[in-house]
């Protein structure tokens, strides 16, 4: 298991290599990427910032929970911070497991928990030159957050 906040591009292939194991029959890779439209507005890029001391701990807690809950040590999560452009990968979750069911469930668990708990924020830049902090609670708790993933 490994988690990290990084300031460089995410190397998804390296994450897949890292979780590969002869005991695994299923490997999942989730990538969150910067999307060009959010809430009907044309997005040109996103700045990601965080409370790093806490985000590092919270991310590690979530991965540890996934390891214990789904029964595989092969969990690697990286979240990128800084200025990202359209199509850039903001988060990558690589998991391998003996069976596909728990591999898929663990991936879902990690991204959903990450979106609820890890203190990371994004400021979207729009093609009209404006920028705004994304507030996933603005349309009610159940609304999907904008931008990536």
């Amino acid at each position: 298991m490994r988690t990290a906040l990084i300031h460089e591009p995410i190397d998804a292939a390296a994450l897949l290599q890292e979780v590969s194991s002869h005991g695994s029959g299923a490997t999942t890779l989730f990538l969150g990427t910067v999307r060009e439209v959010n809430d009907g507005r044309d997005v040109s890029g996103i700045d990601y910032t965080s409370y790093e001391a806490m985000a590092v701990r919270e991310l590690a807690k979530i991965a540890t929970e996934a390891v214990e809950k789904f029964g595989t040590p092969h969990v690697v999560v990286e979240h990128r911070l800084g200025a990202l452009g359209l199509g850039d990968v903001s988060v990558a979750i690589a998991i391998s497991h003996a069976r596909r069911g728990p591999a898929l469930d663990a991936s879902r668990y990690v991204i959903e928990q990450l979106k609820q708990r890890v203190p990371i924020w994004k400021r979207e830049h729009y093609t009209d030159g404006t920028r705004e902090w994304v507030d996933p609670t603005r349309h009610g708790v159940a609304a999907p957050s904008g931008g990536a993933a």
Binding site: Y51, S90, K115, I120, D135
Partner: protein, 79 residues
Amino acid sequence: MNVRVLLFASYADALGTDSLQVDVPAPSRVRDLLAAIQERASHAVPPAPLVAVNSEYADLDQVLGADDEVAIIPPVAGG
């Protein structure tokens, strides 16, 4: 006692700073600190935001110490 409060993202923008020193009586709870912040900057921070004490989520009744680092957490938006 003087408690150091960290601000992030939209809250930091609204207050024009990423940290505050807030004077509260000892002992005080998280809710007392939030009330003191409301007095100073009700426009910038909602009355019951997410709060972390020393990098762990905390509830409103947690008792604060002078050396604690308190963070006011805007709605998170990772991923």
